[in-house]
Amino acid sequence: MKMIIAFIRPEQLPAIKEALGDAGLFHFTVIPVMGTAPKAEQRTFRGVEQKVSLFKRVRMELILKEVDVENAIAAISKGAMDSGGQGRIFTVDVVDAIKIWTGERGNKAI
């Protein structure tokens, strides 16, 4: 079992959601987060300059069986490329999973 953590921009979410759906992957969690970027953005507010260095980002988390991992990476990449191309994907090993209602463990609990 692996967990995929992807950091994307909010405006990329619709395309990535669609790509994951097309790959048959419907279970994931999205969390609104703030993240830095290589360059601060210059904005003005009421005529005063404002350096914005933290931007709205989305963190996606998917817990998957080993066989689905490459599919998920391909789908997220495709969706992200269709909507600007930014983002990072990380994978993490998952030790165990438990479905509370049935007590099932491992792959069955995903």
Partner: protein, 412 residues
């Protein structure tokens, strides 16, 4: 000079001005957080353009003489005359200018979340400087429809259906927001971000509507008339709210707050044409039908895959048309209508003239708005880029957030 009449018109003009706040809150609440600032910016600027456009060209076209098609005297208000005796020209101008502002603002909600700000600037000047005053002249300024006996007391057609049809043309040419319809045409919900803002917006509009309708008497010499208008302006939206709520309860299983609030506005728009010449029974019936039309109108737009963000066409367009026709059914000469309505034994004469007026005004509006939007589309462009739409018009067009510091999903 008549101080009491002057006070009444000035007071009502201020009430109508406050409707801008109502429109602003209504539209801000019905869009997502990422576009709230943009839609408010459009509200501020279209009103500002409205009064300037109405000052330079609008008043002259609307009230500058008895020409059948347009008036031609009083550009920049130089040499302009007030048609109301005993009331200063400035007060009458203000009352008319805030009406022009209301007509312009209606469109902002329908095209919200995707129309370019630059395009909206051009639109708002043209509609208040030229399109609204032409229709206004036909009906209120002594033009050809006024001569025929067409009756639209406070503007179901002149203000609301004009705005509603412009909104429909705009929303149709722009196309739906990203994600509003599936590829097979199934509609998706893009929920507004604040129902409390929508509710206060509707209450403010209702509050301002007393100025809109009762102020259109242009004086207080007939207190009974003012009283009847105020009562009708209360009964119709109340019944419309109940009708829209009940229909939404029957059709969708739960009483829908958003549709009940739109129902209030539908009832207000519906009674605007006939508020002076229908009795309480007529007002109740007009409210009932208006409330139902709002709900069915929304469904109809979904079937046509037209994305009207705030429901401006069902509320202002459909109820405006119905309200104007209703004068030909419920209006009576004993209350001041130019002809007896259908229910009072006047036959189809009054209804026919009302229908002709609606058709002429809205035909002119639809064609001129279509040309205007097409010209804007091929010059500065009508719609924002896909990236701007997804990221939000606040940040992309104005470089600011409406809810800075709040952790909110900007794209779902």
């Amino acid at each position: 000079m008549n101080a009491l009449d002057t006070f009444w018109i000035l007071f009502c003009a201020i009430l109508v001005f406050f409707m801008q706040a109502g429109f602003g809150m209504l539209e801000a609440g019905l869009v997502r957080t990422k576009n709230a600032g943009n839609v408010l910016m459009k509200n501020v600027i279209d009103f500002s353009f409205a009064v300037i456009g109405y000052f330079i060209f609008g008043y002259a076209i609307m009230y500058g003489g008895d020409g059948a098609i347009i008036g031609t005297e009083g550009w920049f208000m130089v040499g302009a005359k007030s048609p109301v005796e005993g009331v200063p020209l400035e007060v009458f101008w203000l009352f008319q200018a805030v009406f022009a502002g209301a007509a312009a603002t209606i469109v902002a909600g329908a095209v919200a979340e995707r129309m370019k700000f630059k395009a909206y600037l051009i639109y708002s000047f043209v509609i208040t400087a030229f399109i609204y005053p032409v229709v206004g002249h036909w009906v209120w300024g002594g033009g050809w429809l006024a001569e025929l006996g067409f009756h639209d007391f406070a503007g179901s057609t002149v203000v609301h259906a004009l705005g509603g049809v412009s909104a429909l043309v705009g929303a149709w040419i722009l196309g739906p927001r990203i994600g509003r319809f599936e590829k097979d045409g199934t509609p998706n919900v893009i929920a507004g971000h604040s129902m409390p803002l929508v509710a206060i917006g509707v209450f403010i509009l209702w509050f301002g509507w007393y100025g809109f309708n009762a102020g259109s008497t242009l004086g207080l010499e007939d207190p009974e008339l003012v009283g009847r208008i105020a009562m009708n302006t209360t009964l119709s939206p109340a019944v419309a709210a109940l009708a829209a709520m009940t229909l939404s309860w029957i059709r969708y299983g739960k009483p829908d707050l958003s549709l009940a609030l739109n129902g209030v506005l539908g009832g207000l728009v519906g009674i605007t044409a006939g508020c002076a010449v229908v009795g309480s029974g007529g007002a109740i019936f007009i409210g009932l039908i208006s409330g139902l039309l709002v709900v069915y109108g929304m469904e109809w737009l979904n079937k046509l895959r037209i994305d009207d963000t705030v429901g401006a066409f069902p509320v202002h367009g459909i109820c405006g048309i119905f309200g104007t026709l209703a004068v030909g059914i419920f209006g009576t000469v004993s209350l001041g209508a130019p002809m007896e309505g259908l229910l009072y034994g006047g036959g189809f004469g009054a209804l026919g003239i009302q229908a002709l007026g609606v058709f002429a005004c809205l035909g002119f509006v639809a064609v001129s708005m279509w040309i205007l939007f097409k010209v804007i589309d091929s010059t500065v462009g009508l719609r924002v880029s896909k990236k701007t739409e997804l990221r939000g018009l606040d940040i992309e067009e104005h470089g600011m957030e409406s809810y800075s510091g709040f952790q909110i999903f900007t794209t779902e």
